[in-house]
């Protein structure tokens, strides 16, 4: 009992401690928020710009366009003072114009609504058409696939048939092939043999011709007869010489010697005759031999030529045979094909062609279907007539504002400064033009301030709007916008009239223009608006009962922001009321349904 009792007491103590700790921890983890209730406000848009104060020579005086002029009270060259009435417009005409412009605005608005509705309808139609085209395309694809498959099957069949036919033909072909190759080989052999024989014969013939040539060119051996006769002549000559010497020495009888010499001389002469005869014969023979050699040579050459030709021919024949054999061996089964295989191949070719043709057609079809899808999903030229209309509405609203101002003035056009009228554009009884009604030279020494503002800001700036200018410490309120002019780079040039004696010429000035919107029932600080997936929402703090008592949770509420500036957003189309506690600030990230508590001041 004692120990357990202590344990129980201890447990209670621990529980008490943990209660305190967890409470404290919870107070840290719960997001502290600041809330604000929505208020009805106007959203103020401020437009700022800076520029230089410049000198102004002539300034325009505007009148609403297309209004009947009742009276023109000044002439060109006339000096006027500030506040003088320059012209009077017809009130009925103004009212009429106001009505017609309002009607036009209304018409344009209705037109825009119709355009929006039609666009929606078009978008629906388009999505339907796209869906159908897509379906067609899918169908085409699946059809094409089926056909493709069929064609593929046909090709496969044809291939199979070719294979079979080939296999069947192969056997026959094999035999034919062997036979043919054997024949060809034989032909090659025959050609070779022929070649060889020709080469052999050529060799023989050449040998014969060569031998004949050799024979012909051999030196004949008969020429020593001539040598012998010459020797005999020389001996006989010597004998005569001996006889002459002996005669001179007195030996023998002169007569016998003379006789002997005469006999010898006769012998020498006959020998010389014989020698000449022999020499002539030898010459003749030599000539003949030379001719024979010439002929043999000729014969050899022609023989060699002939045989070379023959050999070449044989070689050619052999080569041809060899080539044929080689070709046959190389070309294999294609060399001689079975007609069945040929037919099957033909069929295969046809099937392939068909397949190609079909693929081409399918491609064409697919391309067309795809184009149809593309065409149908094409957004087309964006119809920006709505935007154009919107611009027209804005323009007409400005016109309307000018007309309203004029109506308030009772149709009077008043000189805003002292000056001289330099040009009058209004004619009594006619309607006013879209240009300046008067041009005045400013004798009051007025100046102008020009600045460039963005297109977005320009929406809030209109001719005649009050503007505040600041330059250094100087502030000048209630100045008016003289003109606005859109530049090429989409910025807008704003000119403000600056009266004399306000700023120094050439001073740098800063423009402020505040434009209030219509009043919105519910406006909330911009910081309270969160955006997720292009949808705006706010967290609203609502009481919830929990175990720990009354606490608050952050609930998410979707809103549509109609207009906003840097501070506040005007909210329409939401369930917010003026009592809603909108969370504008939190010390932690919060998510929908999370417990929050008010920030302590």
């Amino acid at each position: 009992m004692g120990k357990l009792g202590k344990a129980f007491t201890f447990l209670l103590a621990v529980m008490l401690l943990l209660t305190a700790i967890s409470r404290a921890a919870a107070s840290f983890t719960v997001a502290q928020v600041r809330v604000e209730q929505p208020e009805a406000r106007r959203i103020v848009h401020t437009v700022n710009g800076d520029g230089i104060i410049e000198k102004m020579d002539e300034r325009p005086v505007y009148a609403p366009a297309d209004v009947l002029v009742a009276d023109v009270r000044v002439k060109e060259g006339q000096a006027v003072k500030k506040g003088d009435v320059l012209a009077l417009l017809d009130m009925d005409s103004i009212n009429e114009k106001i009505n017609s412009v309002s009607d036009e605005i209304e018409e344009l608005r209705l037109l825009n609504q119709a355009i929006a509705a039609r666009e929606q309808e078009d978008a629906r139609e388009k999505s339907k058409a796209t869906g159908r085209a897509k379906e067609d395309y899918d169908n085409t694809l699946s059809d094409g696939k089926a056909q493709e498959q069929e064609a593929d099957e046909r090709v496969e069949d044809a291939k199979q048939k070719v294979k079979e036919a080939k296999e069947q033909a192969k056997k026959q072909e094999q035999e034919a092939y062997e036979q043919k190759s054997e024949e060809l080989a034989k032909a090659v052999d025959a050609a070779k043999k022929e070649y060889e024989t020709v080469v052999g014969q050529e060799k023989d013939a050449l040998l014969l011709a060569k031998r004949a040539l050799e024979d012909a060119s051999k030196e004949p051996s008969e020429s020593y007869d001539i040598e012998r006769i010459r020797l005999e002549i020389t001996q006989k000559q010597r004998r005569i010489n001996e006889l002459y010497r002996s005669m001179w020495e007195g030996e023998g009888s002169i007569a016998s010697v003379n006789d002997q010499i005469a006999a010898l001389q006769t012998e020498i002469a006959s020998l010389q005759l014989q020698l000449k005869e022999l020499t002539d014969v030898a010459m003749e023979q030599k000539k003949e031999r030379e001719q024979a050699i010439e002929r043999a040579k000729e014969d050899y050459d022609s023989t060699a030529e002939t045989w070379a030709k023959l050999v070449n021919e044989a070689k050619q024949k052999w080569d041809d045979a060899q080539l044929k054999l080689d070709e046959f061996l190389e070309s294999g089964e294609d060399a001689a094909e079975d007609p069945a295989v040929q037919a099957a191949k033909e069929a295969l070719k046809d099937a392939r062609l068909q397949r190609q043709e079909q693929a081409r057609l399918q491609e064409e079809k697919e391309r067309q279907a795809k184009r149809a899808v593309e065409d149908s999903s094409k957004t087309g030229l964006k119809d920006n007539s709505a935007a154009v209309n919107q611009l027209a509405i804005e323009r007409k609203e400005r016109q309307l504002a000018l007309l309203m101002k004029e109506r308030k003035n009772g149709g009077k056009i008043i000189a805003e400064v002292d000056g001289t009228v330099t040009q009058v554009q209004l004619i009594v009884g006619q309607k006013s033009m879209d240009t300046a009604a008067f041009l005045m030279s400013d004798t009051s020494g007025g100046m102008s301030f020009t600045t460039q503002i963005s297109k977005e800001d320009a929406v809030y700036v209109m001719t005649g709007d009050p503007v505040t200018l600041k330059s250094g410490d100087q502030v000048c309120e209630e100045l008016t916008v003289l003109s606005t002019e859109t530049n090429e780079d989409e910025t807008v040039k704003v000119t403000v009239y600056v009266p004399k004696d306000t700023f120094t010429l050439g001073a740098y000035a800063f423009m402020e223009l505040a434009k209030q919107s219509e009043e919105y029932g519910i406006t909330i600080p911009v910081s309270a608006v969160h955006t997720e997936n292009e949808r705006n929402f706010v967290y609203v703090m609502e009481p919830e009962e929990t175990v720990l008592g009354g606490s608050f949770v952050a609930l998410r509420t979707e809103v549509t922001v109609a207009e906003k500036n840097g501070m506040y957003a005007a909210v329409t189309d939401s369930s917010l009321t003026e009592e809603s506690q909108i969370i504008i600030d939190s010390d932690q990230m919060i998510s929908a349904g999370e417990t929050v508590r008010l920030q302590e001041e």
Binding site: F8, A25, T546
Partner: protein, 288 residues
């Protein structure tokens, strides 16, 4: 002789085995609770997914956590002020009921047991009848009465009916009846007044009965569900017994951890009053 001994021993072993199996089955949920409170949600979803979030397969269990974590305990102790708030609600209800019974039930039991007032039997029978009626039977009438008294949606709507519960009167009555009349007579003769007799003799001799009645009531009050569910509207007044069903399937480990912590006070109280409890249950069981 020997075979008889062997048979006896075998019989004994068999008995122990069978009892051990059933004991294990009885203790198993408690064990699962203890180790489940140390499991992460991922692991628990894996085991209990088929049952909790209807995934395929069958629910399973692991003896010890695969990745033991104290995350659930830390979350319970430091990030769940609701749990402690409801714990103290329970303690307030339990304390109120036990206090009421001590104040009103105890004298009632003593009076019934010791003084022969007329109609005593009828009153006693009435007590037994009320004790026997289940809550569902008296729920509507209780609700009407509490509504008339303007007590609905307050802790008193639980405490008051509990404080006058007749069960503890019945238990204590049994104990007080067990005190011998002679003892009280002699005290009177010695000059003790009735109050003195009640405080000095009745309370001391009936202490075990009083304690057992209080322990039984504590255990019942701690796990009360129907009464708060019917009589309470405001969330901040709900007792702990209604917190546990609020814990969703995706926080199963946290729920097991809560259950484990909520189990501690009754276990301690039971341990403290165990010996008296046995006597009390005996008293309720044995008829005179």
């Amino acid at each position: 002789m020997r075979s008889i001994n062997m048979a006896k021993r075998f019989g004994k072993l068999l008995t122990v085995f069978v009892l051990a199996v059933f004991a294990a089955l009885t203790v198993a949920p408690l064990f699962f609770l203890a180790c489940g409170s140390l499991m992460g949600n991922g692991e628990l979803n894996e085991y209990l997914g088929p049952f909790l979030i209807r995934t395929d397969g069958f629910a399973g269990w692991r003896l010890f956590p695969l990745y033991p974590t104290l995350r659930n305990a830390v979350r319970l102790f430091f990030d769940s002020p609701e749990f402690f708030h409801m714990f103290w609600n329970t303690m307030a209800i339990t304390g109120g009921i036990l206090g009421g019974q001590f104040l009103f039930g105890l004298p009632a039991a003593w009076g019934l047991a010791r003084y022969p007032v007329p109609g005593r039997k009828v009153f006693y029978m009435l007590c037994i009848l009320l004790m026997m009626l289940p809550f569902q039977v008296t729920m509507l009438s209780e609700y009407l009465v509490l509504d008339h008294l303007g007590l609905l949606d307050s802790l008193w709507s639980i405490i008051l009916p509990g404080a006058f519960s007749t069960f503890s009167v019945f238990v204590m009555y049994r104990f007080f009846c067990g005190i011998p009349e002679e003892l009280l007579e002699s005290a009177r003769i010695d000059g003790a007044g009735e109050l003195k007799i009640f405080f000095l003799i009745g309370l001391r001799l009936g202490a075990s009965g009083i304690l057992s009645a209080l322990v039984l009531q504590f255990l019942e009050c701690f796990s009360m569900i129907e009464q708060p569910l019917v009589f309470l509207q405001t969330k901040s007044r709900m007792p702990l017994s209604l917190y546990l069903p609020e814990v969703k399937a995706d926080r199963m480990g946290f729920a097991l951890c809560c259950s484990f912590v909520a189990l501690l006070p009754p276990v301690l109280v039971f341990g403290m009053g165990q010996q008296y409890l046995e006597q009390g249950i005996m008293a309720g069981a044995v008829k005179e």
